[in-house]
């Protein structure tokens, strides 16, 4: 089986620790549930990700160098 998360078009997904989550939520003034979602079964997720975790996705961007996106892992 191909490990999708290693494909060069799949950006880096990492689980944010609690402090990081707090900082992000503080930064944007949102609740955890207001974040964009990612399903638990998404093959790009790291193995340790669980429902309720916040994932940081780091994309390469031609204009912004790095584009950071945060997603909440949800069931289904």
């Amino acid at each position: 089986m191909v490990d999708v998360s290693q494909h060069n078009l799949v950006p880096e997904h990492s689980v944010l620790d609690n402090g990081g989550v707090e900082a992000v939520l503080e930064d944007y003034g949102v609740d955890r549930t207001d974040l964009p979602k990612i399903t638990r079964r998404d093959p790009a997720l790291p193995d340790e990700a669980e429902v309720g975790d916040v994932i940081e996705i780091r994309r390469d961007s031609r204009t912004a160098d790095n584009a950071l996106v945060y997603r909440l892992v949800v069931d289904s």
Partner: protein
């Protein structure tokens, strides 16, 4: 109305309505189906009862005392003789029936199950998902339960027969059970054969096996006693027969109402139903609200007859059946008749709500037209939401045919006088504009810059007529309002459908003109996708100062030159403009003074630059490139490759070398236009585009430009060459076919032999056409108009030229050679299974030479595909666009840079993930953002500004009105004003 203060809506709550509330708000009970009596007066407690509101002007409402227009109408009610199901909730009712106990009405889930659902409901709400999914999951779970966990009663399956009938499916004993049992007990009876037991079963054996008394067994066998369900089961097991059949027990609406009444509130809460506002039994109607007459006005026809609204017709039906139902029941009619009437009442109430239910014949008008009932009023494109609320017809709008006018600026629109004097702008008269206002009024409604209405400070509106205009003009004072005609310089909104992107609606400045069409500059055709073959466009006059200011600053054409789609200019030179600049700059022709001045006369340049030299006769001359350079900003430095293929070099605003064509000044990404708008601003870019267009028109008229059939002719020798090339191709195709028929053709990887042959033939013929084109091309001079247009990018391509002059080439349908028509052949002119080029749509002639009949037919086939494609594409993409807009319409970029929807859920953490506007940033795949250059420019501008702050501030254009710009620019034009236009970089 006007003295009411605006209110803010705090919240809106949707739910079911309690029948008691219906009765409370009802203005009257409706008992007769009649509407008007013989004298034409509405009958009391009839469908047109005056307490339900007024529609006839002059009458007073018996409920609120208001007159028609201000009385909104009042609901009445009909007491239904028997409960009836509301179709809109049929699905939810089915779910509740399946999910609750038939005896105790509790939700068929254990406490743990309910707890889990409760937490799931909270989570769903937090994540903003659909609570309906939770309900569905809960019902799915509850349906699996056979016995109620609370009262232990057995549950049966509920069958829903659309639209409004429900059955309980129960297993009951068949009528002929003794016969069945006897048959099974006979030797060789059912079941025993399989088990290999050939012997018969005696009643004694049966009694032993089932544990039932022998006497009881005998009673059962004789049909005197019906076995109890448990006994039945053991008998079934013992004899291996099925003694049951499915019995459909119809649930009457009254049963369902009783069932739902007992569902506890706590159990509903688990399903996401708020019992406070929506008790499930309210889904069964016992009382029907009657809409006010204002919602179903009757109209009086020319012959004095009254014609009632569809809803009224439907209500008449309901009341009639309702009365018959009651009469029959009181008379003690048989159950069968009562049930029939009940069903009829259900049908009428159902179609009153929705007349497009599948499986139910729609209720029809006497003429056979289906009635338009409640649901049909709301649904669809012409329904209340899409037709009356989201989309309304508007005042102050005009529509007419458009035509071109190259003398207008791209910011302007020519408005016919008739339109200008119909649509008005409100003038608030004060001491400053009193004179103007009086002049407008005294011109009357017919004279052009006139006025149509005036409004006195007391709010009274007076129509200006030709008779009273002089008199009225005297009376106009400060504080009045005057609705004056549109005049030059007013801002209006201009639109062409389909409005596919934001540049389909732009603000233009009015230029009032004679005749009957809207006039626009040809350079704004690309953003509107307009041409002048009969296109019509809409104009909207703006009615308040905020709208006008916003339109001016945000929507004016010059602010829309850059397209957010690809970040480059969408407005620029097109077609003849490009041919014109090409002619002017490609060979760099020379012009004498008269000619040079003539070329530049439509621009703001009123002084010629130094001459480029003298010709043989000693006359001074100016080159085309020099003249073009006059339009460029002083400090422009640019290098790029033109579409004609040569290097264009612009230094210090002088075109040193190269051809100005589509890649330089064209719409859709002309380098010069793009650079100028990004460094010097939209006003400068507007001036540039206007002047390039004007100069180009002068240039193309100077040289003359036409295209005729002779321009595509090639010498006979060349034609022979082309014929030879095509003959060669035919030979190669013939070879391919022989190899194929000899089964010697080798297939390409992943393709069959047939496909390989087709591909190779297509390839060969494609090459043949290309080489024919190459031969033809060699014989066209560089000044051939078709070549000029193709090379400059003005219109057409070399392929078009090839098709006109050399060979039209292979015609294709669905990407393949033409293969359809008769059995095994395309036309009866060919042998069956002929694989040759000409039998499958290869057109070897040119358009100029003329196609032979078969070729013409194949060509029409290929052409038809294109037409069908565009027709299909437009409808498909229109629907796609609608869905996309609906999905994205409420997303909004917040002040913190995030993009969020209306629930404040984050969609993007930074707009476009980089927070930049595609219109403001110029970068492509190959050219990244040149940060250094931008920094240099800003710093330079900063230092320059320090020295000449006063001068720069004075010369900066207002950017608000083209006319204001021109006035200020007229004072001192280039170089000083031009350089200051950009503001950012003046480095002289």
């Amino acid at each position: 109305m006007s003295d009411q203060t605006p209110k803010e809506i705090g919240s809106v709550s949707f739910g079911l309505m309690d029948p008691e509330t219906y009765r409370e708000i009802s203005a009257t009970k409706i008992i007769t189906a009649d509407t008007y009596d013989d004298d034409g007066y509405p009958i009391d407690m009839g469908l047109m009862d005056p307490r339900l509101g007024v529609i006839d002007p002059g009458l007073e409402c018996r409920t609120c005392g208001k007159h028609s227009g201000s009385c909104n109408g009042h609901f009445g009610h009909i007491e239904l003789a028997a409960p009836v199901i509301h179709v809109g909730f049929a699905k939810l009712m089915r779910r509740l029936l399946r999910g609750t106990c038939r005896e105790c009405s509790r939700l068929l889930l254990t406490e743990e199950g309910m707890d889990e659902l409760r937490s799931r409901l909270v989570r769903t709400q937090q994540l903003g998902e659909d609570p309906q999914d939770v309900l569905k999951a809960a019902i799915r779970q509850a349906r699996k339960t056979d016995r109620c966990p609370y009262c232990a009663s057995e549950q049966y399956e509920v069958k829903h027969e659309k639209p409004t009938t429900y059955y309980e499916v129960q297993d009951v004993l068949v009528g002929d059970y003794p016969e069945k049992m006897a048959a099974a007990m006979q030797p060789g009876g059912s079941g025993d054969e399989e088990s290999g037991d050939t012997g018969a079963t005696s009643p004694q054996e049966l009694a032993e096996e089932t544990g039932i008394d022998l006497s009881r067994i005998n009673e059962i066998l004789s049909g005197e006693f019906r076995p109890r369900p448990e006994d039945r089961q053991s008998i079934e097991e013992a004899l291996d027969v099925d003694l049951t059949e499915e019995d459909m027990n119809k649930l009457m609406p009254s049963d369902i109402r009783d069932w739902f009444e007992d569902v506890p509130n706590e159990d509903l809460e688990v399903l996401g139903i708020d019992a406070e506002s929506s008790r499930p039994e309210w889904m069964v109607l016992t009382v029907l609200p009657v809409p006010p007459v204002t919602a179903r006005p009757s109209i009086t026809l020319d012959n004095g007859q009254r014609s009632e609204d569809d809803l009224t017709h439907k209500l008449v039906d309901i009341i009639r059946i309702n009365q018959r139902f009651m009469e029959n029941r009181e008379a003690g009619a048989p159950q069968l008749i009562i049930e029939d009437l009940w069903e009829l009442l259900q049908y009428h109430v159902t179609t009153f709500m929705d007349n497009e239910i599948s499986g139910t014949p729609p209720a029809r008008h006497r003429s056979g037209r289906p009635l338009k009932t409640l649901s049909q009023r709301l649904k669809g494109k012409e329904g209340r939401f899409r037709g009356s609320l989201s989309g309304k017809r508007v005042n102050f709008s005009a529509r007419t045919v458009i035509s071109p006018d190259p003398t207008l600026s791209l910011n302007e629109v020519g408005v016919p006088e008739r339109v200008a004097s119909e649509m008005t702008q409100t003038m608030n008269v004060n001491l400053q504009n009193l004179e103007d206002a009086r002049r407008y009024v005294s011109n009357g409604p017919v004279g052009h810059p006139g006025a149509n209405y005036v409004q006195r400070p007391d709010g009274r509106r007076l129509k200006v007529t030709e008779k009273n205009c002089e008199e009225l003009a005297e009376k106009v004072q400060a504080g009045w309002e005057v609705n004056r005609h549109l005049v030059d310089g007013d801002i209006v909104i201009f639109n062409r459908q389909p409005s596919l992107h934001r540049m389909s609606i732009m603000a233009h400045e009015v230029v009032v003109m004679p005749y009957h069409t809207f006039r626009l500059n040809t350079t704004v055709c690309p953003p509107y996708n307009a041409d002048f073959d009969g296109d019509e466009m809409n104009m909207h006059a703006l009615q308040n100062e905020e709208a006008r200011a916003e339109a001016r600053v945000l929507m004016r054409v010059q602010e829309q030159i850059l397209s957010p789609r690809f970040g480059e200019n969408i407005i620029g030179a097109i077609q003849d403009h490009i041919s014109g600049t090409y002619l002017l700059t490609h060979r760099n022709p020379q012009f004498n003074k008269t000619q040079a001045l003539d070329l530049l006369r439509a621009t703001q340049v009123d002084e010629l630059p130094a001459a480029d030299g003298e010709n043989d006769t000693g006359e001074a001359y100016w080159s085309g490139r020099t003249l073009f350079s006059e339009l460029l900003p002083e400090d422009l430095d640019l290098e790029f490759t033109s579409s004609a293929g040569d290097e264009v070099i612009i230094e210090d605003g002088q075109l040193i070398e190269g051809t100005i064509d589509e890649d330089a000044v064209g719409a859709f990404g002309g380098e010069v236009v793009d650079r100028v708008i990004k460094t010097d601003g939209s006003t400068r870019a507007r001036v540039l585009i206007n002047e390039v267009a004007a100069l180009a028109m002068r240039a193309i008229m100077h040289f003359g430009f036409s295209l005729g059939i002779d321009d595509e002719s090639i010498p006979g020798a060349a034609e022979e060459q082309i014929d030879e090339a095509i003959d060669n191709a035919y030979d190669r195709v013939e070879e391919l076919i022989t190899t194929y028929e000899a089964d010697e053709l080798e297939s390409l990887p992943g393709r069959t032999v047939d496909e390989t042959l087709e591909m190779k033939i297509m390839q060969t013929l494609g090459k043949a056409r290309d080489s024919a084109g190459d031969i033809a091309e060699d014989h066209f001079a560089d000044d051939n108009p078709a070549v000029i247009m193709a090379e400059s990018g003005a219109r057409g391509s070399l392929l078009n030229l090839t098709q006109m002059a050399a060979c039209v080439g292979q015609q294709a349908v669905r990407g393949e050679r033409i293969n359809r028509g008769y059995e095994d052949r395309t036309l009866s002119h060919y042998e069956p299974n002929d694989l040759s080029a000409e039998a499958h749509g290869f057109v070897e002639h040119s358009y100029r030479g003329g196609l032979d009949p078969q070729e013409f037919f194949f060509h029409a086939m290929g052409g038809r595909e294109g037409l069908v494609d565009t027709a299909v594409r437009t409808s498909k993409s229109g629907y796609l666009q609608r869905r996309l807009i609906n999905a994205l319409s409420e997303l909004e970029t917040q002040y913190d840079g995030t993009v969020r929807d209306t629930r404040d859920t984050v969609v993007q953490f930074e707009f476009g993930e980089d927070g930049t506007s595609p219109v403001q940033v110029s970068s492509g795949e190959e050219n990244a953002i040149d940060v250094d250059a931008i920094a240099d420019r800003v710093v330079e501008a900063e230092f320059d500004a320090e020295g000449s702050e006063a001068v720069a501030a004075a010369a900066r254009p207002t950017n608000l009105s083209e006319r204001a710009d021109d006035r200020s620019a007229g004072l001192d034009l280039p170089p000083a004003a031009e350089a200051a236009t950009g503001g950012v970089n003046d480095d002289d």
